[in-house]
């Protein structure tokens, strides 16, 4: 995905999250993550991304 496209979908996601509301945001993001993961080439890629996100939450508090 090009930077301009990433920018576009980022904004789309922000607007959608706002419409979804804070209560349902974790559920929404979990559903979206599942959809995105299922479209990856293999599980190794998904596991690497899961670990990366976990480490960044862990490392940065």
């Amino acid at each position: 995905m090009k930077a301009a496209e990433l920018d576009q979908v980022y904004t789309e996601l922000c607007y959608t999250l706002n419409a979804v509301g804070e209560d349902k945001t974790p559920l929404f993001l979990a559903m979206l993550s599942l959809s995105l993961m299922s479209r990856l080439e293999d599980s190794a890629e998904a596991i690497a991304l899961i670990r990366q996100a976990w480490q960044q939450i862990d490392a940065t508090g």
Binding site: A3, Y10, T11, C14, T16, Q52, Q56, T60
Partner: protein, 529 residues
């Protein structure tokens, strides 16, 4: 600043003597169209205000001879760094290369810029700025506008103007008396803008901090200016009273905390404090009969991405050559409508980019806040998301919807050089072996670029002499394309011949493969010239 009496009639009256209005006057003077500038204030602006001048703005200022003073005094820069807490998450550079004429951006206090433009105007058209004069009313007939002006002594006088350019800023009087209103939206997030004087050894870059330890949960921007001045912008909390937030006792501790964090320990003092919130507002049309709107009078765009003053200069660069052509009887009135069409579209693009920057710099709700935190945390290790942090700095707009564009009939290799795009820069070598930039030829006349490796026939050369355009021959004769920049950027194949017709504001009107001059001239005439 000597005071002379107002004329009864003037071809063009410019309301507002800020950088946009002064540039409009200086550009008109290049076309020998007399104008006067009516400015309510008695001197240049207070506070440094707009500080980042784009490459395109530097080119426009070169047309009036104000570029050298700007570049000499200003601080040129090419990129910046963004930090999340105190970790660098983005190092960006705007497009630049060693052969370029101007840096992508130069920082200058607005009052210096106004001074440089005014000095250039004094050279070409002395004593045409009426300081301390206020426009009170504008009445239009089919052939002229009657402008009621209040003199510094308090009495009034009416000036008849063939045309009016309203460059009188965000609170435009001309806009108000014409009963027009800006439309759009504004963001709640407020920023305090502070200039301080402090010595520094830091390179000139755009610096941004998100949630820095010095000011947790805030966003803070820093830019260097000449005279050892820092511009510092920071976001205040939603629950803060803006009037309290701009009091020095509330500003100084935040600044001190940040300067200490980044290791800037020289003594410092505050020069200027202001308050800002991002707005996306525009008139629907920039032409109303004999009145044109330009700059903040026409549109207010978010500061993030520095599209405010830069787009104002683009407004007048697009307007003045059209107005001058109509005044001189060499263009149809309809050409003036293309000003509004092109620049309203430009504002929409500036607003789209500016809104995106604002949504990152000042998240409008919890969803944007959450996503920004995710992007910043991830960008520490995952560079694929770092582009989201990029501030989307001002770039020249392509007039893709301009009615003047002549759509290419042939296959071209370069999308850079399409009709409606700013004509790409190229470094060339003249017949004496001296370096010449292609953009040096822009800004006044129509320019026909003739690209031809084989020498031109005598007949063709004769025809070129009779055209009402400046002809720039690039190839075997004339200018040498030493670095193949014309060939690459304009999309010519090896050995190909072609014509590019460039508008007086440096934008491409049309392009033709081969040297069919008749086709080119006919297409130009059909556009109202």
């Amino acid at each position: 600043m000597s005071m002379i009496s107002l004329p009864e009639h003037v071809p063009v009256l410019i309301a507002g003597g800020g950088p946009v209005g002064l540039t409009a006057a200086a550009l008109l003077a290049r076309f020998n169209i007399p104008s006067i500038v009516i400015e309510a204030d008695t001197d240049y602006c207070e506070g440094s205000r707009a500080i980042c001048m784009s490459r395109r703005s530097q080119e426009i200022l070169s047309w009036i001879g104000a570029d050298k003073a700007l570049v000499d005094k200003g601080l040129s820069w090419v990129g910046g760094r963004s930090y999340w807490r105190n970790i660098e998450v983005l190092h960006f550079e705007m497009p630049h290369e060693p052969t370029q004429r101007y840096a992508p951006m130069v920082n200058i206090q607005q009052y210096y810029l106004e001074q440089f433009i005014h000095q250039a105007l004094e050279q070409s058209q002395p004593n045409s700025v009426y300081w301390g004069h206020k426009v009170l009313d504008v009445q239009q007939t089919a052939t002229a506008a009657q402008v009621l002006i209040q003199l510094p002594e308090g009495n009034t006088q009416t000036v008849t103007a063939d045309w009016v350019i309203a460059c009188d800023g965000g609170r435009s009087t001309v806009r108000e008396v014409l009963g027009l209103a800006l439309k759009g939206m504004q963001y709640d997030g407020r920023y305090v803008i502070v200039d301080i004087k402090q010595k520094t050894q830091r390179p000139v870059e755009r610096l941004a901090w998100f949630d820095p330890p010095s000011n947790p949960n805030s966003t803070l921007l820093m830019h260097r200016q000449p005279d050892e001045v820092w511009r510092i912008d920071y976001q205040i909390r939603p629950d803060e009273d803006p009037l309290e937030a701009v009091k020095p006792e509330n500003v100084l501790p935040r600044i001190q905390s940040h300067l200490a964090m980044i290791g800037e320990t020289e003594p410092w003092e505050v020069l200027w404090i202001s308050l800002y919130n991002a707005k996306c507002l525009s008139l629907e049309n920039y032409r109303h009969g004999r009145v044109f709107f330009a700059g903040d009078a026409a549109h207010l765009v978010p500061i993030f991405g520095v599209r405010g003053l830069n787009s104002g200069l683009d407004d007048v660069s697009s307007l003045v050559w059209k107005l001058a052509s109509v005044c001189q009887g060499t263009a149809a009135d309809s050409v003036l409508d293309s000003y509004s069409i092109g620049r309203v579209a430009a504002t929409q693009e500036n607003i789209a980019y500016g809104a995106k920057s604002t949504e990152f710099m000042a998240p409008p709700n919890r969803a944007f806040e959450l996503m920004r935190e995710a992007a910043l945390r991830l960008a520490v290790v995952d560079k694929s998301v770092a582009s989201l942090i990029n501030p989307r700095q001002s770039t020249p707009i392509v007039y893709s919807t301009s009615p003047l564009n002549i759509v290419a009939q042939d296959q071209w290799f370069s999308t850079l050089a399409q009709a409606g795009a700013p004509a790409p820069e190229a470094l060339l070598t003249d017949e004496r072996g001296q370096p010449r930039y292609l953009t040096e030829y822009f800004g006044k006349e129509w320019v026909l670029i003739v690209f031809s490796q084989p020498a031109l026939t005598t007949t063709l050369r004769q025809t070129l002499l009779n055209l009402p355009w400046q002809v720039v021959i690039v190839g075997a004769e004339g200018l040498h394309d030493t670095y193949q920049q014309v060939q690459e950027r304009y999309g010519f194949a090896e050995g190909e011949q072609g014509l590019i017709l460039v508008r007086p504001d440096g934008y491409i009107l049309g392009r033709w493969s081969g040297l069919a001059l008749d086709t080119c001239v006919n297409a130009w005439q059909n556009k109202g010239f």
